[in-house]
Amino acid sequence: MSRSFGTDSTGSTISVCLRFFARYAEVLGTDAVTVELQAPATVAHAVSYVRELLPNGATLPEKPLVAVNLEHVLPHQSIHDGDELAFLPPLAGG
């Protein structure tokens, strides 16, 4: 699915892929969505999108662990058109 998000629909937008794993995929009922966000955007904007607009999104924490293009990042990290954001529940490897 593809959706747009932002207060000013006349500005430029970016398209990013949001991926969900493990418990997050279960509660959201999906493991990936492609969304449009108003530029410039950060990880925190993508998190707000998920928490506000996806079904059961509010059950995710306010600051979930997020990776962008396979790297762990902090919430203020900028994101760009074509990025892949992964929402990672608390890790449990080992």
Partner: protein
């Protein structure tokens, strides 16, 4: 080659990957699915991963070991899918000329893996229920 496997971990193969005549000390860590009284009757764990990132993160950790302990070699595997109680979920082998480096490098890989590698587990409880788990500071498995 992936660090992620869907079959039982072959520790002997990991050992042979790092062994060399000049590396006199090898430290191995094997984390297994455990059944402990406080956890209830766990009969298996389902491991899932964000595989591209997990492999990349393991690769980074291995590269960090080479930077910190240049003479030390490490090999590791993490199992995914259904892992019954008592079987290994992760094995790490570090071989070095110096035993303290072998211990330190092995421990480093285990700790970093738990902190950074996107793998999740769902405990399968006897009777059919299941629950997601997160790594806490000092719990294993």
């Amino acid at each position: 080659m992936s660090y992620l496997v869907h079959a039982p971990i072959d520790v002997a193969r990991l050992n042979s990957e790092v062994s060399a005549a000049h590396l006199g000390g090898a430290t191995t860590f094997i984390g297994s699915v455990r059944r402990s009284p406080e956890d209830g009757p766990v009969e298996a764990i389902e491991y899932t991963a964000y595989q591209e990132m997990a492999d990349r993160e393991f690769h980074r950790i291995v590269a960090e070991v080479s930077d910190r302990w240049p003479n030390t070699r490490v090999a590791l595997q993490h199992r995914l899918g259904h892992v019954p109680t008592g079987e290994a979920s992760m094995a790490v082998v570090a071989a070095s000329p110096h035993r303290s480096d072998a211990f330190a490098a092995c421990r480093y890989v285990v700790e970093e893996a738990k902190k950074r590698v996107p793998i999740w587990k769902k405990e399968i409880i006897e009777g059919g229920t299941a629950r997601w788990c997160g790594n806490s500071a000092e719990r294993i498995g």
